[in-house]
């Protein structure tokens, strides 16, 4: 080589190229590692996963400690396809009780699941019962790649009180938003009944743990040894006011009939039983079968999902007469011994109104109740609203409406169940609108005196109104939850319920209660007489323009120190004495004596067997034929 190096300067070319690349890399690193903080978050999301720990949902008991809702462990069979090694498919099918075709179909379905991965466990078969799973578990070692994942499902050992206890289902978009994103898609929340109203108490508080996950999302360790983890707080247990045996008995009496029973303990406002008929087995809406059954129940023309006791409204008919009487007595427009002639027909302002049946004229309010005399209460109502002490009928009527509201009529009772109708006690403004302001008179609203016309009440309001009569002037918000207890500390949280007093003096209740007693003893509800028990009550027949009248009865027992107030409605059952009164009496007897007297067994059998389905245009109660899985 010549001594003179012609290309000496090229030494620098390479040095410049290298320095440029190094500077370029440094700038890029500066951007990635210092200026762009996004990657720190991405790395955290990558490697540290927040895993929710779900608390166990609270249990629900009846007033006597009977378990009404519990959590049953179930198993999902999971498969990690990569880990499956030469499994004996025939044997597995046999253990699972499925055919080879079903197995293949389920496998294909699994592969279509969202988030399917051959490296991670995927749900293969959902909700295998503990019994089936234990059989499978013995042989699990033969099937590498398969594993059981424990889940839990709500179970209702008594297959009754579905609309009260309620159900749980997947949370919807609206609820997620309302919860400030506490709930996540796929979470289960109460959808109806107690499950819905007491969601917060039953649901507990979700815990969190932070774990390291590897690239396949597998948990490989705790982050900072669990320093930031929070434990799940189990849901509270709930003790309801229900007497589940009474509830069961009520549902049996109501089978093949549409209607309601509401039984309240007057001194506390506790709901002892609340039957919505036809009902359904609450287990139908649990787990994997929920969607299918919900659809079937929703399409049923008998409306089993409809909570009749709190939502259905009826004109109370004669069962409303005690209230008309009480208001008149309190207002001083007539005495207890007020006399009204009843010739069977009541002439008023050109109207010709009929009494329900022939009976001797009533010389006092007790006898008028016993005979359920319509003219007596028309006259009583007239006396009340035509009271000259008030400026005009509008003012009196407004006060009359207020009395009714005080009895919990035309307003919501505030029961701790999700849906409640408030019924209707028409307002003076309503009549202003129909007849014109100051252009309506007692003749326009006379039918209110016998519980007909615009007046509408729910069975719950009816029972509550009689609880108020039983208490001689007050009622406590009817409720289905007695106590909420923390399963860990065992502490009770007894909730105070509001007490409402009506502006009617105690003295006026005596004659009314006497009248109600006579109704059962020797009046229209003789069919409901229970030897040895002083049942006080009133039948009612709600006029039904669409078919047979609704049979109603409301009352309480015993007369002194009442233990139970009850309202029964049997749709299209005719007179109150036909179905409602006997059913109410059986409920009362069952509750107070725990047994039905021998001579009343035939009545019990008759009520249980009676079938009104034809009147509803169906031949069979479809919902009762639905089967809630195996047992």
């Amino acid at each position: 080589m010549s001594t003179k190096d012609l290309f000496k300067n090229r030494y620098n070319v390479l040095r410049i190229v290298m320095a440029t690349v190094a500077i370029l890399f440094t700038m890029r690193l500066m951007y990635l590692q210092i200026f762009d903080t996004r990657y720190r978050l991405l790395a955290k999301n990558n490697a540290i996963k927040e895993v929710d720990i779900y608390p166990t949902r609270g249990l629900v008991y009846d007033r006597n400690g009977e378990l009404l809702i519990y959590n049953e462990p179930l198993y999902d069979l999971m498969v990690t396809p990569r880990a499956v090694r030469g499994a004996d498919t025939a044997k597995l099918c046999e253990l699972l009780g499925i055919t080879r075709e079903e197995f293949d179909r389920k496998w294909m379905e699994m592969q279509k699941q969202k988030g399917y991965s051959t490296r991670k466990p995927n749900v293969f078969i959902k909700q295998i019962s503990q019994k089936d799973y234990s059989r499978l578990q013995e042989f699990m070692h033969l099937f590498p790649g398969f594993e059981g994942q424990e889940r839990s499902i709500r179970r209702y050992p008594y297959r009754v009180a579905a609309t009260i206890l309620g159900d749980i289902g997947e949370v919807d978009e609206r609820q997620i938003e309302a919860s400030n994103n506490y709930y996540k898609p796929g979470d289960y929340v109460g959808k109806s009944g107690i499950e819905k109203v007491y969601e917060q108490e039953l649901g507990g508080v979700r815990g969190k743990k932070f774990v390291f996950v590897d690239v396949l999302g597998r948990e490989v360790g705790r982050f900072e040894d669990g320093k930031f983890d929070t434990a799940a707080i189990a849901g509270d247990n709930i003790i309801t006011t229900l007497d589940i045996k009474l509830q069961e008995y009520g549902e049996k009496l109501m089978q093949n009939k549409k209607g309601s029973i509401v039984a309240i303990e007057p001194s506390t406002g506790e709901i002892l039983a609340m039957v919505s008929s036809p009902g359904y087995d609450p287990n139908l809406l649990c787990g994997a079968i929920r969607g299918k059954n919900f659809k079937a129940l929703k399409e049923d023309t008998l409306l089993p999902l409809y909570s009749r006791p709190t939502l259905a409204t009826y004109p109370p008919g004669s069962a409303f007469k005690p209230i008309v009487g009480l208001i008149a007595l309190q207002e001083g427009v007539q005495s207890v011994d007020y006399f009204v002639t009843c010739s069977g027909i009541y002439y008023f302002a050109g109207l010709r109104l009929r009494c329900s049946h022939r009976h001797p004229s009533a010389g006092n309010i007790m006898y008028a109740l016993q005979q359920s005399c319509n003219p007596y209460f028309w006259q009583t109502f007239r006396n009340t609203v035509e009271n000259r002490q008030y400026k005009n009928i509008r003012e009196v009527y407004a006060k009359w409406q207020r009395y009714c509201n005080q009895f919990g009529l035309g307003v919501k009772t505030g029961i701790d169940l999700p849906y409640e109708a408030k019924g209707n006690i028409p307002s003076p403004e309503y009549f202003d609108k129909i007849y014109g302001k100051d252009k309506w008179y007692s003749s326009n609203i006379i039918s209110l005196g016998i519980g007909q016309g615009e007046i509408l009440v729910t069975p719950l309001q009816m029972a509550n109104m009689f609880a108020c009569i039983a208490n001689k002037g007050y009622w406590i918000t009817p409720h289905v939850v007695k106590k909420i207890t923390d399963p860990v500390s065992g502490k009770d949280v007894t909730r105070p319920y509001k007490k409402y007093k009506v502006d009617i003096d105690t003295q006026w209740f005596e004659p009314i209660i006497e009248g109600l007693y006579q109704v059962v003893e020797r009046g229209t509800a003789r069919a409901a007489r229970i030897p040895g028990i002083s049942l006080c009550g009133k039948t009612g027949t709600a006029q039904n323009p669409h078919g047979d009248n609704h049979s109603m009865f409301a009352g309480f027992a015993p007369r002194d120190n009442p233990k139970i107030a009850i309202a029964v409605v049997v749709e299209n059952g005719g007179y109150g004495a036909a179905y409602a009164a006997p059913i109410a009496s059986l409920m009362v007897e069952k509750y107070l004596n725990d047994t039905i007297q021998t001579k009343r067994i035939s009545l019990e059998t008759k009520m249980m067997r009676s079938n009104l389905l034809k009147k509803y245009g169906v031949s069979v109660n479809k919902s009762a034929t639905l089967v809630a899985g195996e047992d």
Partner: protein, 418 residues
Amino acid sequence: MPRQESIAKRIDWVVVSLYAALVIFGWLNIYSASSGGDDVSIFNSAINSGKQFRWMVISGLLAFAITLIEARFFVTLSYVLYVLILLFVVSVFFVGTEIKGQNNWIKFGGFQMQPSELAKFGTALGLSKFLAGLNVDIRKWADKLKAFLIVIFPMAMVAAQGDLGSALVFFGFVLAMHRVGLESYFLIVGTALVTLAILALVVNKYYLIATMFLLMLLFGYLFWKNKKLITLTFLIWVAASAFVYSVDYGFSKLKKHRQDRINVLLGKEVEKGRDWNIRQSIIAIGSGGFLGKGYLNGTQTKLKFVPEQSTDFIFSSVGEEFGFVGSTLLIAAYLVLFYRLLYLAERQRSVYSKVYGYCVVSVLFFHFMINIGMTIGLMPVVGIPLPFISYGGSSLLAFTLMLFVFLRLDIQRYETMR
């Protein structure tokens, strides 16, 4: 031949120290990337750091042995070694085993290696020998052709075996040729072609050709009097268009995963998950921050989010655990090594040693540039090791061999090598 103690005195300790430091630093990072946070020994041969330790010992012995071998041995046998190594590379076609999509592994019993790593060493020897020839002048077309053939032949072999990354490194030899007189327009045209190739992949080829046509018209309008220039411009346009067209065609013939890798780099939409490697690597490096998460504390590293992390993506572990400071220090260490090697190359008396030195530094630099560029998202994912740092016996042995042969040449730099 100098005596032993004078070897110890005359060997360039700066390079030896940097070499040792990089290898040990690499080993520590391999441990971090392969232990996954488990409590295993760094020497445990069940994980990569344990295996790498064996290779480190072997490489140390090899380095020591090479410093004892008379430099003239390599100089004299350059062509022989070049041919032997080439044959070894070719033998892969007959007895090779495919590992991870690359059909370039040879197995002897439980031992496997990639001859392609050795090909760079062989090429360096062959090229140095040729350019050191008495009447060889790279500026002459015949010599240029011969020099290029010496490089292209092994390069084509390696590329044919599916190792596109290693084949790219052979472009490094152009830098060595440039040092002894290859015209600079080779570098300029080369860079222009790479730019055009990237443009061809990013934008629609017809728009590109049309745009170049408009540019040509503009140029013709400005210099319409100069017929020669206009003809040249036209020819350049035709050549560029043909190139753009062929790049697009060639791209369509590439294997799917390679297409995806290039698309990822160019920011084009690819099938979900295809950009996983590079994304995870950038996340790991980016999450390291200024000071890093600390040795063995990288969550992305420990939890194996970055695939191939102890081999091709080892820099992501460095970036995560040692942060910006550690990453730039490592880059600085490489730069010092390269500058030192260039300095050593410049002080060689013989052309052979100088060209060989430039070959070594160019190959190392290309590995460095492509590998780190890939992990930080500036280069396509082509899968070549980071010299001295990445896990892998073949590459560590090959780099050690190349480097220490040069150090031995440097010891004898006052002697004439030809």
